[in-house]
C-alpha cells in the first residue's frame, strides 16, 4: 500500500517537472514580470490582476506586489487591474523575457477593474483557492465599531464560518476550531495573543494595514502550524514619493500614522501608534473619590494599552528589496494603594502586564523573471506577568509583614524561512520552501517572597520559586505546491507539506497532502472542492469565557501530542458583475484537541499543566453562504452559516463528560451577519451591521441531588449521612440566549484646499440596546444574565495630511 502511494507521488512530481519542458520544446515562451504599485504612493498592490485578453491566461501579484506570467511569444494584449484602481491596458510584441513595472492610478469611480480582479484572484471564481476571503481594508474601516475603534478581528468575525466568542471578545472560532487554532500572521510573522483589553480590541491597527486574507480551509501547502485557519495580515510599506499621515482622536484612544520616503523611490517608512487614555481621564475621579470617601486611603490605578507598528522598506534594485517590520504592544493594569494612620500603614502594589513583540526582516530577490524568492528572519514574543506585593507595618516597627508574589509566563519564537515562487510555464505556478521555528516556552513561573519581622520570635522569611521548567521545541517544515491549469476549465492546486516537531526528547512527524480543484462551468460560474490535512505543535490552555492574558501557550510534549485536522470542502462560486456569490459545505475532523479536565483551573493546583488537560477529538460540519460586493457606492456582504461542532474525550486517562460527545463551547447553529456601507455623497457615507447568532454553550447545573458525602469526610463526622450537591448533567449542556445586534455609523468627510482630509465618524453600537449574554450564572433558584455592552454611541475625529 505504501509502495503504491510512493510510486503515485513520484509519478505526479515527474509529470509536473516534465510537462513544462515538453511545452517549452513545442513553442517559444517569454515571461513578463514586474511589480504592480499604487501610482500615487508607490505602495505595492497585493492580488492585483494581470490578464492576457486573447489567450485568457492571467496571474495575480504576490504578497510583495510581484507578478510573473509566461506566455507564448508574439503579440499580447495585457490588462492590469486592481479593485479601486483604473485599469491599464496595453499591447506589445513579446519577443523576449520582459520586465514591466506597472503603476495603477486610484480610481475616482471605484468601479473600474473590479470584475476582472475579482474573477482573476485565486480566491475568486477562476482560482483554485476556496474557503478564503479577502476583505479590502477600506471596507473594514467602514464597519461600525465598538467605541469607534475600527478592528480587523471584529470585521473577520462577521464572515461566514467564523464564530465570535462572548460579546466583544476578539477570539476567532473558525469552522469548529478553537481560538488557538488560528495562525495569525502580521507581515508573515505569527502573533500569539491578538487581544487588547481582555479581547475587546485586537492588536491589528487598521491604519497600518494594507491587506487582510482569511483562509478557513483548502489550505495551500505553504501554510501550516495551525489546524483551523490562517489570517494573513499585511502592513503598508509606506509612501515612496511624499510624506503623508493621519491623526485620530476617539472616545477611548488616540492614534497617529506617518509614512513617507527616506530616500525617494528607494527607502520608505511607515510608523503608526495608538494608546488608550481611559486611565489618564479617570485620575481626577479617583482623586475626588479618595478626597471625599477615601478613609485614609491614597493611591492610583488604571488600565491602558498601547501599540506601535513600524516598517522600513528599501529597494536595492529591481531585483532586490528589503523589508524590516516591527510591532510592539502592551496592556498594563496597575494599582498602588496606601492606607495609613498613626498606628498602622499598609501598602499594596499591583502590576499586570501582557503584550507581544514581533519583528521580521525579509529579503525579496528575483533570480530571473520566472523565479522569485522571499527569505525571512522572524522573532515573536508573547509575555505575561503579574506582580503583587504588599507591606504592613505598625508604629514602633513591630509585627511588620511584607509579601510579594510574581507570576511570569513567556513564549519566544525565532524562525527562518525561504519561500520560492517558480513560474516555468503558463500552466504551472509552483511554490516551494522550508521553514524552521525554535520555540521557547516558560509556561508558568511563580516566585513568592514573604518576611515577618516580629520581636516576639525570630524573624522568618520565605523566598521560593516554583513552576514548570523552560521547554524548548523545534518545528521544521518543507512544502511544495503547484497551481496547475490542466485544461481551460480544470485547474488543480496540488501540495504536500512535511512538518517535524522536536519536543521533550521526542520527534513527531506529519505528512500533509493538500489538494484543491476548480472546474469552470462558465466564465462566471465554477465548482470547487478541496481536501487538506494540517497539524499544530502548540496549544493554548484557556478555561474562561473571555480572552484573558492568563491563557497559557504550551507546546506538545511526550504526553501531549500534536493536534491534527482533516478537512474536506466543496462549493459553488458565481460572479455577477461586482457581486460574488459562494455556497460552501465542509466536514472537518480534529484529533488531539485539548480541554481542561473537570474542575481544573488556571489557579490553585501547583501540579503541571499536563495533568490539568485531557486529549480528545472533535468534528465539525456546516454550510456557509456569502454574497460580497467590494466595489461601487454600496459595498458589503451578507454571510450565513449553519454549523455543528462537537467534542469527545473518551480515551483512557483522558475522559471528560463520561466519554459522551458534547457540543463545543462555541457551537452556534445559526450565524447571520449583514454588513453594508453606502456612499451617499462624496462627503457623507453610511454604514450598518446586523448580527444574529444562536447562543453559545456553557456548563450549567440545573438539578440538585442528595448523595453521600466524600469518603474522607465521613471520618470527620460519622453522623453525616447525606449531603445535597448541584448536579451537572454534562459539559456544555446549556445554551445561552441568542445574540443579536445592530450597529449604525455615519462619516462626514471634508477635503481642504491643501488636499488634507478630515473625517468625523459617529457610530452607535447596539442601536436597540439589546441585552446580549456575556455570562449566565445561577443565583439561588434563578438564572441571571450579565450583559456588558448596552447602546454605546461614539465619536471619532480623523485628520489626514
Amino acid at each position: 500500500m505504501m509502495k503504491g502511494r510512493k510510486i503515485w507521488i513520484a509519478a505526479l512530481i515527474a509529470a509536473i517537472l516534465v510537462l513544462p519542458a515538453r511545452e517549452a520544446a513545442a513553442q517559444k515562451k517569454c515571461t513578463i514580470s514586474g511589480y504592480m504599485t499604487d501610482a500615487s504612493s508607490g505602495e505595492s498592490l497585493i492580488s492585483a490582476a494581470l490578464l492576457e485578453q486573447q489567450s485568457g491566461q492571467g496571474t495575480v501579484t504576490n504578497n510583495y506586489g510581484y507578478y510573473t506570467l509566461t506566455l507564448p511569444a508574439g503579440e499580447v494584449a495585457l490588462e492590469f487591474s486592481y479593485i479601486g484602481y483604473e485599469t491599464v491596458a496595453m499591447s506589445l510584441q513579446l519577443v523576449r523575457d520582459t520586465v514591466l513595472h506597472v503603476a495603477l492610478k486610484p480610481s475616482a469611480e471605484f468601479l473600474q477593474g473590479a470584475s476582472v480582479t475579482a474573477s482573476r484572484s485565486e480566491i475568486g471564481v477562476r482560482g483554485t483557492q476556496m474557503s478564503a476571503i479577502e476583505i479590502p481594508v477600506h471596507q473594514i474601516k467602514h464597519v461600525p465599531a465598538l467605541a469607534g475603534e475600527v478592528d480587523v478581528i471584529k470585521a473577520i468575525q462577521l464572515l461566514p464560518g467564523v464564530q465570535s466568542g462572548t460579546e466583544g471578545s476578539a477570539g476567532l472560532y473558525v469552522r469548529g476550531g478553537g481560538p488557538d487554532e488560528n495562525l495569525l500572521l502580521l507581515d508573515g510573522v505569527p502573533i500569539y495573543n491578538v487581544n487588547h483589553m481582555m479581547g475587546f480590541f485586537s492588536v491589528f491597527n487598521a491604519d497600518a494595514i494594507k491587506n487582510v486574507t482569511l483562509y478557513k480551509g483548502s489550505f495551500p501547502a505553504r501554510f501550516g502550524s495551525r489546524i483551523s485557519s490562517i489570517l494573513d495580515v499585511r502592513m503598508k510599506d509606506g509612501n515612496d514619493r511624499e510624506y503623508h499621515g493621519s491623526a485620530s482622536l476617539g472616545l477611548l484612544s488616540a492614534k497617529f500614522q506617518v509614512e513617507g520616503p527616506i530616500i525617494k523611490g528607494k527607502t520608505t517608512f511607515n510608523v503608526s501608534a495608538r494608546r488608550t487614555y481611559y486611565d489618564i481621564l479617570s485620575q481626577p475621579l479617583i482623586a475626588y473619590y479618595q478626597r471625599h470617601w477615601g478613609d485614609g486611603e491614597r493611591g492610583t490605578g488604571g488600565y491602558y494599552f498601547y501599540d506601535v507598528n513600524a516598517k522600513l522598506t528599501h529597494t536595492f534594485s529591481n531585483r532586490d528589496k528589503l523589508y524590516v517590520s516591527y510591532y510592539m504592544g502592551d496592556d498594563r493594569v496597575y494599582a498602588r494603594i496606601k492606607t495609613s494612620d498613626e498606628l498602622y500603614s499598609n501598602q499594596l502594589k499591583l502590576g499586570w502586564n501582557w503584550g507581544n513583540i514581533v519583528a521580521s526582516a525579509r529579503w525579496n530577490h528575483v533570480f530571473n523573471p520566472r523565479l522569485f524568492v522571499n527569505a525571512t528572519l522572524n522573532y515573536t514574543q508573547y509575555r505575561h506577568s503579574l506582580d503583587v506585593s504588599g507591606k504592613e507595618s505598625y508604629a514602633g516597627g513591630t509585627d511588620g509583614f511584607a509579601m510579594s508574589v510574581a507570576y511570569h509566563s513567556l513564549i519566544n519564537d525565532i524562525s527562518a524561512a525561504a519561500d520560492f515562487e517558480y513560474n516555468p510555464s503558463p500552466a504551472h505556478d509552483i511554490r516551494f520552501g522550508a521553514t524552521y521555528i525554535r520555540h521557547t516556552f516558560k509556561p508558568s513561573i511563580t516566585t513568592v517572597r514573604a518576611a515577618v519581622d516580629s520581636p516576639a520570635d525570630q524573624p522568618s522569611a520565605i523566598d521560593t520559586t516554583f513552576g514548570d521548567k523552560n521547554l524548548f521545541t523545534g518545528e521544521a517544515a518543507a512544502y511544495f505546491e503547484d497551481n496547475w491549469s490542466v485544461t481551460d476549465w480544470l485547474k488543480i492546486n496540488l501540495g504536500l507539506r512535511y512538518a517535524m516537531y522536536d519536543t521533550d526528547g521526542r520527534f513527531y512527524h506529519s505528512l500533509e497532502p493538500r489538494v484543491s480543484l476548480r472546474a469552470l462551468i462558465t466564465g462566471d460560474l465554477s465548482l470547487k472542492a478541496s481536501w487538506s490535512r494540517m497539524s499544530q505543535s502548540v496549544h493554548m490552555l484557556s478555561n474562561s469565557n473571555i480572552s484573558l492574558p492568563t491563557d497559557l501557550w504550551v507546546p506538545v510534549t511526550s504526553r501531549i501530542r500534536p493536534m491534527r485536522s482533516n478537512q474536506a470542502a466543496a462549493g459553488v462560486f458565481y460572479s455577477l458583475g461586482p457581486v460574488d456569490f459562494s455556497l460552501e459545505g465542509y466536514y472537518k475532523t480534529m484529533d488531539n484537541v485539548l480541554e481542561y479536565r473537570e474542575g481544573a483551573s488556571f489557579f490553585g493546583s501547583s501540579s503541571g499543566w499536563e495533568d490539568k488537560v485531557a486529549m480528545g477529538r472533535g468534528w465539525a460540519y456546516g454550510v456557509e453562504f456569502l454574497v460580497q460586493k467590494k466595489t461601487g457606492k454600496l459595498t458589503g456582504w451578507v454571510g450565513y452559516t449553519w454549523s455543528k461542532t462537537m467534542r469527545q474525550f473518551d480515551r483512557e486517562g483522558h475522559v471528560i463528560n463520561n466519554g459522551i460527545p458534547f457540543p463545543a463551547k462555541y457551537d452556534r447553529r445559526h450565524d447571520l451577519s449583514v454588513t453594508a456601507a453606502y456612499e451617499v455623497t462624496r462627503k457623507i457615507d453610511l454604514a450598518a451591521t446586523f448580527i444574529f447568532g444562536t447562543g453559545i454553550c456553557g456548563s450549567l447545573a440545573t438539578q440538585t441531588i442528595s448523595v453521600i458525602p466524600a469518603y474522607s469526610a465521613v471520618s470527620q463526622n460519622p453522623f453525616l449521612t447525606t449531603v445535597t450537591v448541584d448536579y451537572l448533567e454534562g459539559r456544555n449542556n446549556y445554551r445561552m440566549p441568542s445574540y443579536q445586534r445592530l450597529d449604525l455609523g455615519v462619516n462626514f468627510k471634508r477635503t481642504f484646499r491643501n488636499g488634507h482630509h478630515r473625517t468625523i465618524g459617529l457610530s452607535v453600537y447596539n442601536v436597540y440596546n439589546r441585552n446580549n449574554p456575556f455570562l449566565v450564572y445561577r443565583s439561588g433558584n434563578q438564572l441571571k444574565q450579565l450583559s456588558i455592552f448596552p447602546l454605546m454611541p461614539s465619536l471619532a475625529y480623523t485628520y489626514e495630511f
Partner: protein, 320 residues
Amino acid sequence: MKRLLSLLCAVGLLIGTGCEKVIEFEGEVARPRLTLAAQATVGEPFTAYVASSIFFLNHSYQENAFTSSLDTLHGQVRCFVNGEKNGFVMQLRSEEGGTSLCYTSDYVPAAGDHIRLEAEFPDFDPVWAEVTMPQHPRFELLSVERQQQDSDRNDTYYAVDLTLAVSDDATYDKYYFLQPLVSYRSDLPWWDDREAILAPLLFTSSDIIFKDVNGTSLVLEALDSESELAGNFFSDALIKGQRHVFKITVLNVPAPENVGLFGLKLAAVDENLYWYDYSYSQLQDSFGGLFSEAVSLYSNVHGGYGILCASAPMWLAVEW
C-alpha cells in the same frame, strides 16, 4: 437645550437599563430522577439512601421535594447479593424528613460479595447499580520515628516518619485510601480520648510526604481540596500481588501530651468510590469559580443519579 437634555436623559435611561437581569431557563427542563446513594462497608450493616432529584431553576422549587415526591407505600428498594434471584427488600427506617429516605437491612457485606441495588418508585424510572466488595487491606506498620519541628509561639509539633508495608491481593482492581487522623487529649472529666472525634483537618496534603522505599512508585493521588480533608488514594495497578514498603512523613503532629489518639485510617476501596471522591473534591474546589471548568459528579447508577460504592477499612494506631 431642553430637547437635548431630554434626549440625553432618554439615552442614559436606555444605557442604564440593567446590565444584569434574571432570565428564564430556555431548554429542556430535566425531569426528576431517582438518586440512589450507598457506600457498602465490609463488616457493617448495609444502608442505602434514596431521593428525587430537583430541577431548581423554577419558581416552585422546594427543598422537601427530595423525598416528598416519593411514594414510599408503593416504592421499593431491593438488594441482590452474589446473583441471588429474588434478593431482599430493604426496610424504610424512617420518614423523618431530611434530604433522603434511609433504607436499612440486616445484611452485612463480606469481602468478595457482589451487590446489585435496585429502586423502583411510581412516576420514576427504575434505577440500579452494582459493586463488588474489596478485601480488607493488609498493612503493617514497620517502624515509627519522630522529630521535633520548629515551634511556633505556643505549641510544639513533630514530624512523624512511618514505614509501612502493604501486601496486595491480586484478585481485584482497587484503590487504597490512606488518611492520618489525630484527636486531641482533653482534661475535661467527661472527655474520652478513645471516642473523641478525630480531626483529620489538621493535616493537609502538604503535611503528608510519601517516599518510595523499594522501587515501584505508588502514583499517589492526593485529594487536596480546600473544603475537604487530606486523604490520599493510590491504585494497586503497579503493586498488584506484591508486598510493597513505603514511608510516610506526617508533618505538624501535635506533641504526644496533647494527643489522645494518632494513627492511620487505611482502606481498600473500589474504583467507583475513588472516582466519586475525586469528582466530589473537584466539585467542592470549583464551586462558583469563574476560572474553573464545571464538574459533573461521578455516578454509576443506571437510569438515575448517585453512587453505589464499596470499602473495606482498617485502623492502624501509632504508638509513639
